[in-house]
């Protein structure tokens, strides 16, 4: 009897340990700094080449959407802190000046964030006080 509980405990410990190992090894392998635009500007020097995930607003600066190369250039931030972003991929539907976006990528030597992921806020957030601009 007791023997069976020892065996069971060994099984449980092995499973729990391997789950723990998977979680911790996974967590060290795919982490990135999660920052806001002002935080990026402060630490620009030390962040070069690092993987970052940045949350912020798309500014009113002109957006450069190159359809042929699926390349989208824009500026994130506000009047105090800004960072230029270059994203390779399809421009999301919700993307326009003023919306909140999350980008993931790396910061290169010129201080440009080259992004591989660009997410706009889900439409369920559509609770803006102001009526959308009609242009």
């Amino acid at each position: 009897m007791a023997n069976q509980y020892v065996k069971l405990s060994i099984g449980v410990v092995i499973i729990v340990a391997s789950i723990g190992y998977l979680i911790f090894s996974g967590a060290t392998g795919s982490t990135m700094y999660f920052l806001t635009v002002p935080e990026i500007q402060q630490k620009l020097g030390m962040l070069q080449g690092e993987a970052v995930r940045v949350a912020g607003k798309v500014t009113e600066d002109p957006i450069d959407w190159d359809v042929r190369n699926l390349s989208l250039g824009f500026v994130m931030g506000d009047e105090h802190a800004r960072i230029p972003v270059r994203y390779k991929g399809v421009k999301p539907d919700m993307f326009q000046p003023g919306v909140d976006v999350i980008v993931e990528g790396r910061i290169d030597r010129d201080g440009i964030l080259t992004a591989s992921v660009l997410m706009t806020s889900c439409p369920s957030k559509y609770q803006d006080e102001k009526t959308p601009p009609s242009s």
Binding site: L8, T31, R68, V90, K91, S124, D128, P132
Partner: protein, 669 residues
Amino acid sequence: MSDIGGVALKFASVSAIYAVIVALMGASLKRHDMLRSAERAAYAVFWLVTVAMIAMLYALLAHDFRLQYVSHVSSRSMSTFYIIAALWGGQEGSMLLWLWILVLYSAIAVRQNRLRNQALMPYVVATLMVTALLFLAMLVLVDDPFQLLPHEPRDGQGLNPLLQNPLMVIHPPNLYLGFVGFSVPFAFAIGALASGRLDTQWIRSIRRWTLIAWLFLTVGILLGGQWAYVELGWGGYWAWDPVENASFMPWLTATAFLHSVMVQEKKGMLKVWNMVLIILTYALSIFGTFLTRSGIIASVHAFAQSSLGPYFLFYLAGVLLVAITLLVKRLPQLRSDHRLESVVSRESSFLFNNLFLVGIMFAVLWGTMFPVISEAVRGVKISVAAPFFNQVNVPLGLGLLLLSGICPLIAWRKASLRNLRRNFLYPLTLSFVVTTFLYSMGIRHVVALISFSICLFVFGTIVLEFYRGIRARKAVSGGNIGHALMALVRRNRRRYGGYIVHFGAVLIFVGITGSSAYQTEKDVVLRLGEKASVGHFVLQYDDFLRKIEATHEAFLVKLTVLQNGAHHATLYPEKRLYFAQNQPTTEVALRTSPFEDLYIILAGFEPSREIALKVFINPLVFWMWMGGLVVVLGTIIAIWPERRPSLPHSQPAEQQGEMTVAQGKNAWQ
């Protein structure tokens, strides 16, 4: 009309407070009349919230744009269908729906148990009404859905076009029906702990509740994935976003509970563990609602940052404190009736299955909360991305799938070598042979091969079980295979329903494996008349069309798809510009088949009518949705009330705890 709604919610709050106080007093004073009064108050809460729902619906349908909520989520040009859906298209409305479902469930639970479980019911009513109060407090004090605007606008802003999709209309109610459904089992668990009636009676009373909540949550999650797939246009269905994770975590613990509760019913073991799982499931449902509404974790789905966060956290802390205190107090009464006899037995395989499910839950929770944890510990926000979740959960998910083949067939108590050989020899052979064939066909993706081999093994065990059952039925009562199959399933709905659910899970794994291991992605730029090849398809750009519709302007591209030189399909990827919201949307062109989905997005176009396409080939996705349907079918079979000769069940109310099987089965009729 809108005043009525606000007033109804205030009265509902008072009524709910009354129900909680009187129910608890009735329990401590052993006053039956007080329980009755509390139950009537719970009914009153239901009717009052229903009035608020009708008031909101009326305001939406009557275009009463004085209401801030109505002007945000609806407009005159929207069809009636989407105007009704706008009821849950925003923060306040969706909380109102959440609340309404909860009080509806509460009323049903009270009605069902008016003669049964009398010792538990005061605590059940109190627990459910406390949950209702959390949402009532937020709707009355923080986010009033009936808030008026200073002056009435001529038209509303309208529901976001991305939400104007039938899938998105039924997805949130399904999730809520699932989330909220777990409140009832939790309330019974608290009732059992508080009253000390810890026999299997309460477990039997909530069996169906748990399954139904689980079914709705499963469907809700799958619909969310399908909506993301067909509407968002990034080629996938699941991104490990915090909000997706929020719905997935209670699903995992609920699934664990559905399995381990069988061990408690059959063997009287794992009693404490089951309590923990119910409490966790409820807490994770509340936590999920908190995650999506508090803005604590930046999510692409998150509602606007709001002041609701502290309410949820205080509530959650209170719930856990009460539940754990009760559980610790009752620990001596929750001892196992049996001891484990062998590690190679169904009992222990259930335990391992639970470990995997809770392990996945923990990994998801860890990954979701990582930015918050790292900020608290190290002062920097660090987030983990999708690769983390995949790296951790793919092995765990495959382990779980393997157990779903082993668990149902391994013997209770102690499995002999003969039992193992009898049940697993053929499935293992099938798996080995077909996997070898797949390898020889050129499939070299290691994880995909492992996944397919496990899928085949589980499929083999299920087929074997049905085969043996049908053969036995035919030997007993003759008839053809169809009759034998029907009789077999009818005699043991839970068991065979369970097998069908497992088969659905196998199909879902096949879909996930195919689409994640073998997805092809290609960017294509074309001038009018040009061709491009993607995989074994050739796309030919034939025409560019522009249409003006009532609500939007549409730009369509006509593509002729050729496969092996022959005409395969004509597809029209599309971009729309909705006038009301000045919002572009991308309409995915999708050609689905059992082998692969051809998925084309019109990424953009130039004035010269030059177009940029993003093309995905997603193999086997079809089977994921089929698997979802099979899971639904299996669950419905398991839930379906069994036909039994009706026994007299006119026992006096005091005799609760002695409920007959027939009464339990009748609970849902």
